[in-house]
Symmetry: D2
């Protein structure tokens, strides 16, 4: 490709404002030179590139679970699952990201749907992934030969470069959400992908209640001496709802007795962690469940980086930046970087919110900030 | 103090051997000069100071649980517990360490005994400690105001510089073992100690089944978002036998399916870890439980650093260096640095061994080595 | 904003290929539903989003130093430097990134130009930056009150959130290059910016040969005991050419004697590091100088992540992906992610290449890969 | 060995004091039982084992350089150097450590002496070592085949398990000091030792001004890209006086301009660090040089852990715990754990103190404390 003879992709024009040069013919000539040489000045772009604080290109938005499920079921009837398309996954497209299947600039969130008896073929990729199940059961994910049950409330991390396939062993379809760092690795151009076996073996089609990974790693404060030391992503493939629920209930129980047991009054939260390190469950993704007591409200808080939420239980109101939405079980919504967030639970029962975000990226690079607003 | 006029503690004499100077009057004069000036040559000492591999000053030895308990019960009748003596703890004195209460050069192991209704007063120290319960129940340890139940099979770490007291809420005496790094901090001269309140408050005398620490930290793969990041010692104050037992059983269950699930065939092992880091539960002490299948045998293995073992369940034979001993429930024994160890379970049932050692010290200093022998 | 009534940014159409659904009216209806609900399926996008290996959106390209300098000089005459525009910096715009001032998807590279007596006003930002000087001298950068001289061959890192201003104390204009992680923080939406004082104080206008940071931190293997422990970015503000040149010469001198002293025969390289940690000089940017012996050639190598190069000395040929270019002193070029690179020095003298890249991002996230090709 | 029939090494007797049991016949019988079973109670020992703060078993003491050198020269005439004795090294024996060659409970310090043309044979050991040269030159240490010059003011670390030999290439004897962690590894029983070749090769007898390690690693802020990442001990084998001196002078120069450039007014200090990590030069040993301006005085400070000092230049007074000594060039002295230290320089010139200590051990184990006294 010869750039010199192509029309340049650079188009410059003088802008008015503090610190800007006067729009003279000389300036115009200079800018034409910049265009020819594929150059862009800082002085016209600095406001966009280097804002006083993050100004997200993405918007807050809510997707309704019933609409998602209805469309997923429709896809279940007409879209096959197999090699090439790989998964019947349907991704949230942030309304301000140009129609791309990106929930936020760094995060992918999709509903995945599998019909009874269906298989999704084996592959592996460097993108980190997880599944979270808001309802249903019957699908097992086979990770490096280890079948992992998926049921309501379970969180199933899938660190990069592990082989995995899904199969629905039940007589009902099943839907769940997938979260990945696809947009991050897409922008930073760091992805690898490999297809696996066309079909998994019969012994991988068993449907044990606990995976081998849980047998090895699912005991609190205990590690198998036979296994390697700290790994960058978790070796535990399932975090069960029974544990999550109990941990949240315990925090609320302790509120009266132990200062700081909850994040703020009536607001409990647990983070899924890698048991080999106590750190985030995946190198690029933080995942948490938050519980707000019936009638309670969280602090208003903002972070560097974006979040995707799903209502796991209950209903209430959420404020995303300066917009307020009513939400209920299954609804998904996104929170852009540095936009304040607040949740209020309805009076009828507690509000449980699952969320995942890109905070580990910023923490690893010493670029994280967080703030209680107002 | 004037050293010059005191008799010097240094006493040198010529030794014969490779690389040694001839025993002449000049050498004698030189050695007298060394003594006067408080000097010692390397060439006479190098064999002792810098051996080809660790030659421990301590010996393997077995202490019988029934003898320990009997003496502890006798002490229960005539030795009071209170400020000054602090604890009714009776320590293993390695037969080769000159009568000092040191199980090994770095480790302290003691049986502690508390009569019904008794209190051991509050204090704190920089030495790291734990309790392990081979039988009985009824004592609660109050750590920074959090009462922690102690029952058979429980492991209760006590990181340095936390306030703690014990009280026996039952109608029976209770015995358990304490492990600490007292000899290590004694030799390296790094200890601090502080006495606490004379008596704990009524609300600290409650006897909950689970401590607050377990409510916050005792859920597998989950951390409370409200709590601080990685700490050098564990915030979890009790590791319950039900979890340990299940983890060991799971490893043995997996043996046929997953390569490397156990350390070697029939030999499962779990390590107690700090859930904030996945690392050893205490900065200077590693603690583990090993299970050998009925009739099974471990590999013969040696490590830099020493271990103290207690038989938790079953009976069998252990080889400590080149000595073999029959052991049964409650028996304690010590393994010196670099001495090979092997255990064989009797045919009647599995053999469960609790052990603790100083490996984290060597790992932190990049001085650890381990080896399968033969 | 009401998304429901806006035209959706999502536009889907059926594609042919393996694993794709048949283009039926039902599929069309499904896709219209996806558009309405702001959804995008994975199966149509997976080839672009999850390629087998990174397929960069950016292109290799070379910018010629004489053209850059000429345009910068022209800008020096008609574009003022001051608050608002902040810097007379002119950025490389990769021909395949849509006219944006991004050298690669993560990296910014610009020529900056300051006329005699000019000041660039003080500010700070979370973006990490550095300067590298291919020719000239006379400008001092004042970092938190410490004036730092800039001369040919010097590398001057500027970790995020440090106040800095520039002033040209000489009678000649001076040009240099700036490198930053602006595109990375722009995509990930993690930037903060703050304006500083309108003018620096007279004592900050002094022109010492060595900065205070060099007095504290510029001694090999020595750290000031008074200063804090490991910091995420380097406290050393200038890495002088005399040291870099000597280090490269030493490596080539050692080639005959020490196996592995160079990367490959005739190819020496040094990395600028943070003396408090030995790690990369900035959390998101790696910077190195490579020297290829006269007539020598590097291995052909590719990495995850992108690089920007500047020829510091000598001339030769570079292969960027599958394109070959002749380059000489001052020329800048970019290498996209996973594109192989090879350099050959002309016979007349060695070829010195300065380069910077985003590898620390991938290493921090455990996503780095590197490869010798062929 | 049958312990049961041997006289027990344990000897107990009742002591009076708070919390002690009454000296009754029953107590006597209990103690006899403890002795038989190799047990020692905590309550009689706690004051010694768990003091309120470290009470060192060692004493402060000063060794005079002229006496050391005179005895070393005498040894040079009558004690051969060769395999078996390995080194003509003469160690400081702390007056309170029972005549053992231990400067402190963890540290070894010795004067080593080599006659013209002599060789000290090759060996390696896990103990970490260094040399420091207070006067003279002419000896080269050959480390893994790399000859390293030794001259006044040079610090030469020798991480564990590297092969090393010495040869005196000059026509004069040479003396220097060796520092090692021999007592620490002796108490903790973690030592390995291996003898090397009987004689080094001719090419290892060259006498280059700079070692290969300096060519690779001796450039400030630069690391060779060809070399491995962070290593637990330094790859740089010589830290030259010219750099140390300049770094100290720079700190004192900065005092007026930069707050906190020195430790306290008139007191500069540098620490030798591993350039791959910025951390201590050896895993168990910290080494520093401190400079006190003529007539100046340091703060009075104490640390957990012990130090050995040598006066490198100047003269003055030092307070070790509560004893004061006059010291001058070459004098060595030891400071026990938690004993306060203060130095005062004579008016004639600055006082330069080299010191090494065991602080990295305590820092690695989170047991370090430091304190300015009064």
């Amino acid at each position: 490709m010869s750039i010199e003879s192509s029309p340049s992709p650079v188009r410059l024009k003088a802008v008015a404002g503090p610190g800007q040069p006067d729009p003279t013919p000389e300036l115009d000539q200079l800018y034409r030179g910049f265009e020819r040489e594929l150059l862009v000045p800082l002085w016209t772009e600095i406001g966009d590139l280097m804002p006083l604080q993050p100004k997200s290109k993405s918007s807050p938005h809510v997707w309704r679970w019933d609409r998602l499920k209805e469309l997923a079921a429709q896809a279940g009837r007409i879209v096959p699952v197999g090699r090439g398309g790989e998964r019947r996954a349907i991704a949230l497209a942030n309304p301000s990201l140009g129609g791309r299947p990106f929930a936020t600039p760094t995060l992918w969130a999709a509903i995945q749907y599998l019909m009874p008896g269906e298989d999704a073929p084996e592959h592996r990729h460097t993108q980190h992934a997880f599944r979270f199940v808001v309802e249903g059961e019957g699908v097992w994910t086979v990770v490096n030969g280890d079948p992992v049950r998926m049921s309501r409330g379970d969180f199933l991390p899938q660190a990069g470069w592990n082989w995995h396939a899904h199969h629905n062993a039940a007589t009902q379809p099943m839907a769940w959400i997938d979260g990945l760092d696809i947009p991050f690795s897409y922008y930073t151009e760091s992805q690898f992908f490999e297809v696996g076996r066309e079909r998994i073996e019969p012994r991988e089609r068993t449907t044990p209640a606990r995976s081998r990974s849980e047998q090895l790693w699912g005991h609190p404060g205990l590690r198998p001496v036979s296994q390697p030391d700290a790994t960058s992503a978790t070796p535990l493939l399932a975090y069960r709802w029974v544990d999550t629920d109990r941990a949240l209930a315990d925090q609320l129980d302790l509120e009266g007795e132990v200062a700081g047991a909850t994040l703020s009054p009536g607001h409990a939260a647990v983070r899924y962690v890698n048991p080999t390190s106590g750190r985030d469950v995946l190198p690029t993704i933080r995942a948490e469940v938050h519980r707000v007591r019936a009638g309670g409200r969280t602090q208003r808080r903002r972070d560097v980086g974006s979040w995707v939420y799903q209502v796991f239980d209950g209903s209430g109101q959420v404020t995303l930046g300066d917009q307020r939405w009513e939400v209920r079980r299954g609804d998904l919504f996104v929170l852009p970087s540095w936009a304040p967030f607040q949740a209020t639970a309805d009076g009828a029962g507690h509000l449980d919110l699952f969320r995942f975000g890109d905070a580990p990226i910023f923490e690893a690079l010493h670029a994280h900030r967080t703030d209680v607003v107002g």
